[in-house]
Every structure is written in structure tokens, then in C-alpha cells.
Symmetry: C2
Subunit: 145 residues, 2 copies
DNA sequence: ATCATTTTGAGATAGCTTATCAATTTCAAC
DNA sequence: GTTGAAATTGATAAGCTATCTCAAAATGAT
């Protein structure tokens, strides 16, 4: 099974921990491993997922660790509905969201042309893009009567 | 002072009410008037704002009414931080944002090509876009060493 | 191995939104 | 203008998500 021990994300995390006098714990490794397998996930979902193998992992720890990943630049929090989605930044840019305001249906999409134009806009303004967020809100075919 | 009595938003609301056997109340008129003066607002903020003139208007009524406006297509809920922003759909100020993760600087931009591509994506998926949100995160020229 | 420091887990707490329900208001039919 | 069934309101309780608290445990530099 693939370990995150040597992944570049694990290196990023270790750097962040060192820079802020934080410690590498079993839980942080565990949660990073699980997180890297997702494109995005909620703390609650990760809690239930990890409970199968680690029943004593606390929900607060999951929240704390996912927020730590945000600080380290590995994750990005996105408020969605009543919950917070933690996006895996290494997958970011590969899917944006179409959200139906009628029924809440979510369709993921990716569009290289849009991403290229985003780069153009950024370059024109002297920016170097790290991540982005694109959400289109509207009515899906079933809600659009 | 401009009244919403004859505004097209009031007409939209009345249509929605009629269609769903709902009633036009003093509170709904009041809240619509206040809402139309905003580009976006939270329920809490509107509660405090209206409390000055109508101290007995309940917070639950504000929430219910703003959600009603969403159903009627006048407003759009957007989760931001821990709160819900209710956007005034008629003020479609379509500026997107470039946000520097180094210094927090925000640059507004608009790009017709991106918007056209968004429409394409939406159409391809059977969606009709009401609003969108595009945020590019990165480093500005001064923070990019 | 030691020990100051950080982290964890479990539950309490906080913040935002919705549900409950008796009293009030609306509005269509008289 | 009255009436009365149905919808709405206000106050508060309840529900959910996320954070805080703190004693116990784990980490990692020495």
C-alpha cells in the first residue's frame, strides 16, 4: 500500500511542522494518508471512514488536523451547504463545481480553456496562481421548469 | 424614498406567493425593501438593521423570509465563513477576485471569455447559470520572490 | 531515558439556522 | 365590513457543525 512517508505532501507537512515547532504524530500521518486519497472530504466523513480502522480517533483531532493541512497549504477549506469541504490542493484545478440552487445537485467539471484564461488574467496582473475556486450556481434541467 | 411596492422584484415576489398559496405580509414587504437596498447581507445583519425601526421583528422571520426570496429567485444564499450571505440577484456585480495569499491584496477583474466558457459548460450539463463565484489564489508580484 | 512541550480524546461549549407552537394576521367568500 | 380557514409570526427550544477545555498521553531534543 502506498505510504505518504515519502510523498511530497508529507515533506511539505514536515517542513510546516518544523517551521512552527509542531510535532509529527501517528494521527497526523494517518489523516494525511487518508486525505491524499480524496479529492475533497468533510471532517465528519473522514471521521466515519477512519473509525473503521481507528475507532478512538477523535472528531476534534480530525478538524484540527485538516485545519493544519490548510495552514500548510495542502488543503483548502470550502464552505458548502452547511458543512466545510476540505479540498486536496494537489488535485485542485481539476474539477470545479456546478451547483443547482433548486435541488442541491452538484456536478463536477473541468475545463482547460477556462484554466488557461485564468492563468492569463493572473499573469496580466502579475500574479502566480496557487489554487482557485470556481463555482457556478444555477438550475439543473430538472429544476428548470 | 423608493418603495418596493411597484418594483419588479415585488412583482416577482407576488407571483411566487400566488403560485404557492402564500400570503403577502407586512414583514415580507419590509424585509424585501431592506433587502433590495443591499448587494448582499446576512440574516443577523438585517435583523439588527431592522430592529432600529421594528424591534419586534423576529430573527426566525428574517431567515424564513430570506429563504423565501431564494425560492422566488430574488436572492441567492452563499456560505461564507460560518455565516450565510444572501446575495441580491438583481445586483449582479460580476467582478471576480484575484487574492494574494502572501499579503492579502485583492484585485477585481472580469473576463468575458471566461464567462462565455462558463455558460458553455453549464449548457452542456443542462444548467442555467444564475450567479457564479471565481476566486484565484496566488502570489502577487511583490510577494513573489 | 528524561522531561518540557505539544497533542490527543471526550465531552462541553459556542455559533448559526431551523423547528415548534400558540397567538395573530391575511384574504377570499360572504 | 365580517367571517373563518389557512398561513404567518415571534419567542424559544432544538439541531448541527465546528471549536474549546483540560487531564492524560505522546513527541522529540537533550
Amino acid at each position: 500500500m502506498a505510504s505518504s512517508k515519502n510523498s511530497k505532501e508529507m515533506e511539505t507537512l514536515k517542513e510546516h511542522l518544523a517551521k512552527h515547532q509542531l510535532k509529527l504524530t501517528r494521527q497526523r500521518e494517518l489523516i494525511l494518508n487518508a486525505f491524499l486519497r480524496q479529492e475533497h472530504i468533510t471532517a465528519e466523513a473522514m471521521y466515519h471512514q477512519l473509525a473503521k480502522t481507528d475507532p478512538h480517533l477523535g472528531l476534534a483531532t480530525i478538524y484540527r488536523t485538516l485545519n493544519l493541512f490548510c495552514d500548510a497549504g495542502l488543503a483548502q477549506a470550502r464552505h458548502f451547504g452547511s458543512q466545510t469541504q476540505y479540498d486536496n490542493v494537489s488535485h485542485k484545478g481539476h474539477h470545479d463545481h456546478l451547483i443547482c440552487t433548486g435541488c442541491g445537485k452538484i456536478v463536477e467539471f473541468e475545463n482547460c480553456d477556462i484554466e488557461r484564461l485564468q492563468e492569463e488574467v493572473a499573469t496580466r496582473n502579475g500574479f502566480t496562481i496557487q489554487t482557485h475556486r470556481l463555482e457556478l450556481y444555477g438550475l439543473c434541467s430538472r429544476c428548470h421548469h
